[in-house]
């Protein structure tokens, strides 16, 4: 807790001090004090001068980071609004164009949780997605790294942490509030906060041990202050070294590697900071691998050695198969098809000209004209409808339908809905109020039976098990209870299934398992599902049957799933995949602000709630009172966060339709 106090001290160094003292000169972009689109986010073009031998080099960088200011109210304590993050993204792209490295400085207790466009969660998702593939080196320096706000600019090749900083999934107070179930009015006790802070392992040392930061910069005993020039010198050395290292590790030429070894011991050797096309690719690949390898120890895998071997063999088999089918054969086949199409087009054009010339002659013959219309109809007729088949479903009866009672629709006052009898509502109406269309929550089994073709579901990676990596008090017990209750080992169920004959890979977040929260096991399963979809060239569907966010008791292990999953989603999308997200019931926080929110096609089931932070958290952190319908899917749609709202009764048809229209024959792969 002392760490938090040091980090939030008004005299602690802030980004402006660092810009003044670590860099040799800078120009702030788009802001002067409080005159800025968001004064809590600072962007600057800066440079570092290096004297090597007799030559002087100026090395430009893009500096992006949150600014807490020294007690300046308008900085909002480094809590960045969605448009501030949007600006950061804009200049990351500028840096990419200019081929200069990015240094990001994380000084934030968390993001400002308002939904106004571009939306807290959606914008962070966009930032993470962009950083997952950005083609310049990124070095992040973490002083105060609070949850989503930190991730928005924190997906870096090298992460350096200040020794008194903290990096955590949630502020200790927030964790205590959730743990103690204390309401907004009753403050969590100091002891509980202390306890949470200790258990979450938020310090630089903890994070270094877990592998989530690469290096620590030592600060003076009570934290760095604006006049600690020795600290700036050290920090300057570290960021230069980190940037050099990234560049050298991906340079192709052998000569450089030889220098690299020497360079690390000798800071006097100059390294150019721009990259060639080849090295850019290596950079992104290395970043993917780095994050893919993180937090692998933080979940349990109870599958046997034989199963693992079998999986490995299958994966390899599929890789070879899909290479042959799509890369090798597919490419040639497509080339031939394209050639054939071109030839056909030519012939048509030629024929058109010929027929045009003789059109007056043809017009006199009614039979000919009619023939041509027939041909036209035949060629424009859509071809896939003929092959469609519809399987009868085995019926699933919701346990909610077995109660002999009536329920009141929440809209009954407004829409005068009649009371609904549970067996009707949950048995026949799919949980939809027959009067106003309000959707009552349904359990996930209902979807399994009503979306996918009967007997087509094949679950995989079921043995991956949620565990308690930080040994957080009581979590093991809670997880055991959830496992017993649901029969699942984690909140993420991954399977292959068919929707009207179309094979898809599905990752489903189950609201019943600890609120659908995402920890290391869920993240790993999600990533493996995305990989499976990529290997097998199938569309990938994330079905969110509710998620409360990142599982806070796993601390940074949970938080890291945001960049990890987003990286894998990006890799899948870039190899040509089709990624659909469907939200149901309540979806909030971390997952939404990363691997779900980055999908170009997000749909919600009616009456779903979508947002970054719940009403209670918003009131606590911003003091704003928000209307009760703030997170409703219709609001999310009008804010531009999602792309459509579906009726639950039509979900199977809608999904099939979406797969057919967004896909096509070469659907899932470019």
């Amino acid at each position: 807790m002392d760490k938090v106090r040091i980090v939030r001290h008004p005299q602690r160094v802030c980004l402006k001090d660092i810009l003044e003292n670590v860099y040799d000169n800078y120009t702030e972009i788009g802001g002067q004090g409080e005159y800025s689109i968001d004064p809590s986010m600072i962007i600057a073009r800066a440079y570092i001068t290096r004297n090597v031998g007799k030559k002087t080099y100026k090395q430009p960088v893009m500096v992006i980071g949150q600014e807490k200011g020294h007690g300046e109210e308008f900085r909002n304590g480094g809590s960045v609004k969605p448009w501030g993050n949007a600006k950061a993204l804009e200049y990351m792209k500028v840096a990419e164009t200019e081929n200069i490295p990015i240094h990001s400085y994380i000084f934030t207790p968390g993001s400002y949780p308002v939904e106004d466009y571009p939306g807290a969660a959606q914008q962070i998702a966009r930032n993470i997605y962009a950083m997952a593939g950005i083609k310049v080196p990124v070095v992040a320096v973490i002083s105060e790294g609070g949850s989503g706000g930190a991730e928005a600019i924190g997906l870096a090749d090298t992460r350096i942490m200040l020794s008194h900083g903290y990096y955590s999934v949630i502020s200790p107070e927030g964790a205590a509030a959730i743990e103690g179930r204390s309401s907004a009015s009753r403050k969590a006790s100091g002891k509980l906060v202390e306890n949470c802070a200790r258990q979450l392992k938020i310090t630089a040392r903890d994070n270094l041990e877990m592998g989530y930061v690469d290096r620590i910069v030592q600060e003076p005993p009570l934290g760095a202050r604006p006049d600690h020039f020795e600290f700036y010198r050290k920090l300057r050395q570290e960021v230069i070294l980190a940037t050099d290292e990234i560049i050298l590790s991906i340079r192709g030429v052998k000569l450089f590697r030889a220098i690299a070894l020497r360079k690390l011991n000798n800071p006097k050797i100059y390294v150019r900071w721009s990259l060639s096309t080849k090295s850019k690719e290596r950079l992104v690949w290395r970043r993917y691998q780095k994050y893919r390898g993180l937090s692998r120890w933080a979940f349990e895998d109870s599958s046997t050695g034989f199963q693992r071997f079998k999986n490995f063999a299958l994966e390899t088999g599929w890789s070879i198969y899909s290479f042959l089918r799509y890369e090798f054969f597919g490419r040639h086949q497509r080339a031939i098809t394209h050639l054939a199409e071109d030839v056909q087009g030519e012939v048509h054009a030629l024929m058109d000209r010929v027929t045009h010339r003789f059109s007056s002659l043809f017009k006199k013959l009614p039979g000919v004209k009619k023939d041509r219309e027939d041909v036209c109809q035949l060629t424009t007729l859509s071809t896939w409808e003929a092959g469609m088949s519809w399987n009868e479903h085995c019926r699933y009866v919701s346990p909610q339908a077995n109660q002999d009672k009536t329920l009141t629709c929440p809209n009954s006052r407004k829409s005068n809905c009649l009371d609904l009898w549970a067996p009707d509502l949950f048995g026949d109406f799919a949980g939809v109020c027959s009067h106003c269309g309000h959707h009552f929550p349904m359990e996930y089994e209902w979807y399994l039976f009503n979306i996918f073709d009967s007997r087509s579901i094949r679950e995989f990676n079921a043995p991956i098990e949620a565990s308690n990596p930080l040994e957080f008090d009581g979590l093991t017990h809670k997880l055991d209870k959830a496992k017993k209750q649901t029969g699942h080992k984690s909140a993420c169920m991954t399977f292959e299934a068919k929707i009207k004959g179309i094979q898809v890979v599905v990752a489903m977040l189950l609201a019943r398992f600890r609120g659908g929260s995402v920890g290391a096991a869920e993240g790993e399963k999600f990533i493996r599902a995305a990989e499976q979809a990529r290997r097998k060239h199938m569309p990938f569907l994330a079905y969110v049957h509710g998620t409360a966010g990142i599982r806070i008791q796993e601390g940074t292990n949970g938080l890291l799933q945001m960049p990890r999953c987003t990286l894998s989603v990006r890799r899948y999308l870039e190899s040509g995949g089709l990624y659909l997200v469907v939200y149901d019931t309540n979806s909030y926080a971390g997952p939404l602000a990363s691997f779900l929110g980055c999908s170009p096609y997000q749909f919600a089931i009616r009456s779903a709630n979508i947002g970054f932070a719940g009403p209670g958290v918003i009131r606590e952190t911003t003091g704003l009172d928000i209307p009760p319908n703030y997170h409703k899917s219709f609001q999310a749609l009008s804010r531009g966060h999602i792309q459509g709202i579906w009726d639950r009764r039509e979900i199977r048809n809608n999904l099939h339709h979406a797969l057919m229209t967004m896909g096509g024959e070469f659907l899932y792969y470019r």
Partner: protein, 216 residues
């Protein structure tokens, strides 16, 4: 001529309004409040999203429907209904005494004393230019209107129409609309009173402002 003073005295005799809560539909009643004199609260929050005090549950086919207090006040009477008894729709359950607030008293008096001019259509309203200028320079109560005067402009979907005034001649005492917000049909736009009464009404209102004691 309306005697505003006597209306005020009348209200002072009984500074509350009694609300009878009756069963919204048939069902078995389970009282949540069972003491006479219990203080209850009405719905609160910016959007009235927090419901008032739970008074009772009405159970029908296993579905307990809550009955909430509509206003702040005090339970003064229980009607002849036993707990867990089956009641028909419309059966009175209890009576709540709601003490009037300053604003409510003023509203009652003004409603009786003023002639209210209501919105003939839904739309945005503003005063015609000359009246508007007069209001801005000399205040609302400098404007006198008579039957047939064109006082307002109705603006709806970029189409503007002037609205003539109907009703007794007098001074515009107060206006209820905001020129940048849409007004529902039938909602009051402004209140008019005869010129000679302005003083009386003002005196009574001032008296309420300074002297009315709100009882909780």
């Amino acid at each position: 001529m309306i005697d505003t003073i006597s209306i005020l005295n009348e209200i002072k005799q009984a500074p509350y309004k009694e609300i009878t809560i009756s069963a919204p539909h048939s069902g078995r009643i389970e009282f949540a409040v069972d003491q006479i004199g219990t203080r209850v609260k009405g719905a609160s929050g910016t959007w009235f999203e927090r419901p008032g005090t739970l008074l009772a549950r009405l159970v029908r086919e296993g579905n307990p429907k809550p009955v909430y207090a509509p206003e702040n006040g005090e339970v003064v009477k229980f009607h002849d209904v036993n707990d867990r008894e089956f009641v028909q729709a419309g059966t009175p359950l209890m009576t709540i005494r709601h003490f009037l607030t300053k604003q409510e008293v003023m509203d009652i008096i003004l409603k009786k004393a003023l002639h209210l001019f209501n919105a003939p259509e839904k739309g945005r309203y503003y005063f015609v230019a000359e009246i508007d200028a007069k209001i801005k320079s000399q205040g609302l109560r400098s404007v006198s209107v008579k039957e047939g005067d064109e006082v307002l402009i109705l603006s709806r979907m970029k189409r503007e129409t002037t609205i003539p005034y109907h009703g007794p001649q007098g001074i515009i005492y107060t206006s209820y609309f905001n020129s940048n917000e849409s007004v529902e049909m039938g909602a009051p736009l402004f209140g008019v009173c005869p010129e000679d009464q302005v003083k009386d009404i003002k005196a009574v209102i001032d008296k309420i402002q300074s002297g009315w004691e709100e009882q909780e």
